[in-house]
């Protein structure tokens, strides 16, 4: 401990001399003993911190993976949800611009399928959710044939990459199915 205080001047109007103060500072003890034992508290704290560090180290391994997964998820979600090239164009236009958009055929087929299901659901809701069994059997058969054709084209597209004709056929089949449904239910509603 470096006790430094000027001992030169001795004068002080209302107090003790500087020399005396300097002497007292020099005589101050370097050490004081605390009343209570401080070690148990320190020991508890450092044991707790050591455990925390171990846990942190373990969790540190997962943090980069979790971050990477989250970022990938957000990018994919944003891409599928907000990508103007997909959401704002109809399926036909997408088929024609597939190469420009750099969308894989599988992604495009999935998108077309979802889009079709949404349109179909909206149509059915608008007619009060009618069931197919209320349609005449001939109409039911025609709808089933269209649905089967759609399904077969989808399966073919999964194995045949970059087949624009098949994609166009899928789109055509879906549109025909929707048109037929619309005609049938409109007729059925009128009846």
């Amino acid at each position: 401990m470096s006790k430094k205080i000027s001992q030169g001047k001795v004068t002080s109007a209302n107090g003790i001399s500087e020399k005396s103060l300097a002497q007292q500072v020099t005589n101050l003890p370097n050490e004081m003993a605390p009343e209570r034992d401080l070690w148990p508290g320190i020991e508890r704290a450092i044991s707790h911190k050591s455990q925390q560090v171990t846990t942190d180290k373990q969790s540190n391994i997962f943090i980069p993976s979790a971050w990477a997964a989250s970022i990938t998820m957000v990018i994919l979600m944003s891409w599928f949800t907000f990508s103007p090239t997909i959401s704002e164009k109809d399926a036909t236009a997408l088929v024609n611009t597939q190469e420009e958009n750099r969308v894989t055929q599988g992604q495009l087929v999935d998108f077309m399928q979802k889009n079709f299901q949404q349109q179909k659901q909206t149509l059915l809701v608008s007619y009060g959710q009618p069931t197919v069994d209320k349609l005449p059997p001939a109409m039911q058969k025609e709808l089933t044939q269209l649905a089967d054709a759609r399904s077969s084209i989808r399966k073919a597209l999964l194995t045949d990459e970059n087949n624009a004709d098949l994609l166009n056929l899928l789109d055509f089949t879906q549109q025909q199915e929707l048109k037929l449904l619309q005609q049938l239910y409109r007729q059925y509603q009128v009846i």
């Binding site: 401990m1 006790k3 002080s12 107090g15 103060l21 605390p34």
Partner: protein
């Protein structure tokens, strides 16, 4: 800081002679002590709590004295002294041996104490830089009879206004330069110097006053 802090300059009454004798008798063992401390530091860096306890045992009284003088409160000093050693445990790997361990430990302790003081200032004190204690010694936070084990000067230092006390302890007792103190306390170098002079004047006055009171008491007793 560097070599300014000479921690071996412990001179007080009978202990001084004892320490001096012990130092001369163990002159050859001085390097052994340093080697022992270096070993404890190395082991503590590896996570040895028993080695860390040896460091605590060797240094905690000095650190407690520093905390007590800066905080002027026994309970806070004990709590902060504990905090210092917890921080030491976390930061001991930062000690590169470029200075004496005790010097480095004192700088860690000083930072912890100042951090504690900043944390415990209320919003009014922060906004208007109002000192926790009054600017005069009329209402001391520590009574002169609070702790008879304390040196008289320590009792008077405890009654100084906070900033004057901090500057006085850091400059006169701990041996920091005003440039270093100004950085620690975020004040101008000139302010550090003026706070030191203020503290010195207040101490001279209060020590004189207490001397007068003691003389009066003795005369009355007679």
């Amino acid at each position: 800081m560097d070599s300014q802090i000479n921690k071996d300059k412990k001179v007080i009454d009978g202990k001084a002679l004892f320490s001096a004798n012990k130092m001369s008798a163990n002159k050859n063992h001085g390097s052994d002590d340093i080697d022992g401390e270096q070993a404890w530091i190395a082991q503590a860096k590896q996570g040895s709590q028993s080695a860390f306890y040896q460091l605590y045992e060797k240094h905690h009284r000095q650190i407690y004295a520093l905390c007590w003088r800066m905080l002027a409160d026994k309970d806070s000093a004990e709590d902060v002294c504990q905090e210092v050693f917890v921080v030491l445990w976390q930061k001991i790997n930062n000690f590169r041996g470029e200075s004496k361990f005790s010097t480095w430990l004192h700088s860690v302790a000083t930072n912890v104490v100042l951090g504690h003081l900043r944390k415990h200032k209320n919003w009014l004190q922060r906004v208007f830089s109002i000192e926790e204690q009054g600017t005069n010694m009329a209402e001391p936070s520590v009574s002169l009879t609070d702790d008879s084990t304390l040196m008289i000067l320590d009792q008077h230092i405890a009654r100084l206004p906070e900033r004057a006390r901090l500057v006085f302890v850091l400059f006169a007792v701990e041996g920091y330069r005003h440039e270093e103190i100004s950085k620690m306390l975020k004040m101008a170098v000139g302010s550090s110097k003026s706070q030191y002079h203020r503290a010195r004047n207040l101490l001279q006055e209060s020590l004189m006053a207490s001397d007068c009171i003691s003389v009066e008491e003795e005369m009355n007793h007679e």
